[in-house]
């Protein structure tokens, strides 16, 4: 059975070109870039090259990039590193819809005496900027707000938010893990101080990421025990990962507008047809200001895990904000914060596409999905038959 992969916000396929690029760095060019000998030392140039490939996508300087083990480490480093560098400030402002890498870290800091403000979002998944502005005060060390939401694809007005924070002299961090490669950026012209990205969300391998640190931003190192990354992140470099991330960024930068337009056309076809073919379905999150690849649709009176398992039988991979897929018991914190009623929150499905998806795959999914919804509704005690 062919796999139809519509779960690209969870992870992505490693691009063939990326794999080719990193192959030599396992058995042939396995040296340590910190070594004195040429065999290891030559790797340093490869890492420099990867760093430049990333700066080309982000529009920043090579010295502003720190390689990490992924999005979660980048988020933790940004938050903990900023607070350590600003020991007199005790307040953090974030949102209720952040990824756990940010939200859990902030809530843990609350247990250590920090004040954490979690801003709510409206039905469209958007923030009230005046509320944010009101909250920023002299005690605020950090504002950390995601670029785009992983569950709904809703994009926040990050440049405006960064400007608000900068005007008040507060450090601004954004978890841009879902946005990189989907939204063109130019960080040299932006007020963003810190930005997290993850390799495996843009066709690089898992276990590598980066943190952008604007020149002049004070940040204490989070990982200790080595001089790597100019003393800002200890630990021997993940050489194949870094080289893969560089290549993936180069590929993403190429035709970023055209590729994303193509993905958006597929996503729109899937979304519009599902909403039309399945009665009792509704879109979660505002249609405007959204990632081009993501759609999150609720199917009333049925449950997400059951839908996913039926899709799985046809080789279709998607994901759900439903509690039953995660082992927790309450449905998605993102959808609940947006005020999605329980009737719909339990039956939400996220389809997230990539440049490797085809129209045939969308058509196949459109053929199967209404059958699945009907079958589960026949079982549901909340649907009259």
């Amino acid at each position: 059975m062919k796999t139809i992969y519509f779960d690209n916000n969870a992870t992505t396929k490693v691009a063939e070109q990326v794999l080719e690029e990193i192959k030599p760095y396992f058995c042939d060019l396995y040296g340590n870039p910190s070594s004195m000998h040429t065999f290891g030392g030559q790797i340093g140039a490869k890492i420099r090259n990867a760093r430049e490939q990333i700066t080309a996508l982000l529009g920043c300087e090579p010295s502003e990039i720190i390689f990490t083990a992924g999005g979660t480490e980048s988020d933790n480093t940004a938050i903990m590193g900023t607070l350590t560098a600003k020991p007199n400030k005790r307040k953090i402002i974030t949102t209720r819809v952040e990824h756990p890498a940010v939200l859990t870290t902030c809530r843990e800091l609350e247990n250590h005496g920090y004040t954490v403000v979690e801003l709510p979002v409206d039905k469209q998944g958007q923030l009230a900027l005046d509320e944010l502005e009101e909250q920023i005060d002299d005690d605020t060390a950090l504002v950390t707000i995601m670029y785009a939401n992983n569950e709904t694809g809703v994009v926040f007005p990050i440049e405006k938010i960064a400007e608000l924070a900068t005007d008040k002299g507060v450090i601004f961090h954004t978890d841009a893990v879902q946005a990189i490669g989907k939204i063109p950026l130019n960080l040299s012209k932006s007020n963003i101080d810190l930005l997290s990205l993850s390799g495996h969300k843009l066709h690089a391998p898992k276990g590598v990421g980066a943190l952008y640190v604007k020149k002049g931003t004070r940040l204490s190192p989070y990982m200790l025990g080595g001089h790597q990354e100019a003393g800002r992140r200890a630990g021997t470099e993940n050489v194949p990962g870094i080289i893969g991330l560089g290549k993936a960024c180069e590929l993403a930068a190429k035709n970023i507008e055209e590729e994303n337009q193509r993905v958006k056309t597929l996503r729109d076809k899937l979304e519009n047809a599902l909403l039309e073919k399945c009665p009792g379905s509704s879109l979660n999150g505002g249609k405007q200001n959204r990632l081009p690849n993501t759609t999150n649709i609720s199917f009333e009176y049925i449950e997400g895990e059951a839908i996913l398992l039926m899709l799985d039988k046809f080789g279709i991979c998607a994901s759900s904000g439903s509690a039953c897929t995660s082992g927790s018991l309450e449905p998605s914190h993102v959808l609940r914060t947006m005020g999605v009623p329980f009737t719909a929150a339990h039956g939400s499905i996220r389809f997230s596409l990539s440049r490797y998806n085809t129209e045939e795959e969308v058509d196949y999914c459109l053929e199967k999905m209404p059958e699945i919804v009907n079958k589960l509704r026949e079982l549901s005690p909340f649907v009259a038959t």
Binding site: E110, T115, I302, E305, A323, C324
Partner: protein
């Protein structure tokens, strides 16, 4: 991905006895949309008092649907007295086992069966009603229900109780109480497994006392407030006076006094020292916020 048995998957993809019996002898309904799963069970008896037909309708995940399907198969041919003896463990065993986190599906099956039998016997109460003190307000689970899953399944930890009946799986504010029920039912067996409740010390140094107060607020009080959109901050401790500030929804709530006296002080006295009393720091509560749901 859950590790489901082949039998479970087979029942999920091909559920038996779906629907509702017209003019049934017994009807049982449990769960709700808010809880994430719900089951309606109906059955009809033959002339000899055996269950001739049973049907179900279920909203929920794959294991909720599969447990409902096997439940209808299991009870067919049984007398009411025989059916009444079916436990959640029997249902799980029939499927070749359930993942721990899905055991509550088998409990839901047993509850629906009980409600249907009760409906047959007394003619009333199709919907299972809550009996006894409600412990978990998120999922509406009572003390009786928690005690029952503990003793029927020999549970020793809060996590297991959550897996079996959902209690404690929402805001987490009732986990301390669940631990106490575990101790009551299981005695030392539960005590050995408990770790999260801070030990109540005899004589405390100032530093230890403040640490214990902070820990109690973090683990026993904040989760419950968070569930209602609020928060609490420890401002200072002066001898036995604990000064706190309420944030978010709690800050200007009329119930603040009630919350403080009844929850915060009670918890601090229970987990730290009987001599503690709580005061609210009004000055630091003047933070802008609004009551949006």
């Amino acid at each position: 991905m859950w590790e489901y048995t082949e039998k479970l998957k087979e029942h999920f993809f091909n559920p038996r006895n779906v629907g509702e019996i017209e003019d049934p002898d017994g009807t049982g309904e449990v769960g709700s949309l808010a809880c994430g799963d719900a089951l309606k069970l109906t059955f009809k008896l033959d002339a000899n008092g055996r269950i001739k037909d049973a049907k179900f309708k279920t909203f929920g995940c794959a294991s909720a649907i599969a447990t409902s399907s096997v439940l209808t198969e299991m009870i067919k041919g049984k007398t009411i007295d025989e059916a009444a003896k079916v436990t959640n463990k029997d249902i799980a065993d029939y499927l070749g086992g359930l993942p721990e986190q899905k055991m509550h599906c088998s409990v839901m099956g047993r509850e629906a069966l009980e409600a249907a039998i009760e409906n047959y016997r007394t003619g009333g109460r199709k919907k299972r009603e809550l009996e006894g003190k409600v412990i978990c307000t998120c999922f509406g689970v009572t003390e009786n229900e928690i005690e029952r899953v503990i003793s029927e399944n020999d549970l020793t930890t809060v996590e297991q109780v959550t897996n079996y009946c959902k209690a404690g799986g929402g805001c987490g504010g009732c986990q301390g109480e669940i631990e106490k029920i575990l101790e009551k039912v299981q005695g030392d067996k539960a005590k050995a497994a408990a770790a999260s409740v801070p030990p109540k010390a005899g004589k405390l140094t100032n530093i230890k006392k403040i640490q214990l107060i902070q820990q109690t607020i973090n683990e026993q009080i904040r989760p419950a407030l968070r569930a209602h959109g609020g928060n609490i901050e420890l401002i200072d401790v002066e001898a036995n006076k604990v000064i706190v500030a309420f944030r978010g929804m709690c800050a200007q709530c009329k119930l603040a006094e009630y919350t403080m006296k009844d929850v915060v002080e009670a918890k601090l006295r229970e987990f730290v020292s009987h001599e503690l009393f709580v005061e609210e720091d009004k000055d630091s509560t003047q933070q802008p916020h609004n009551h949006r749901g």
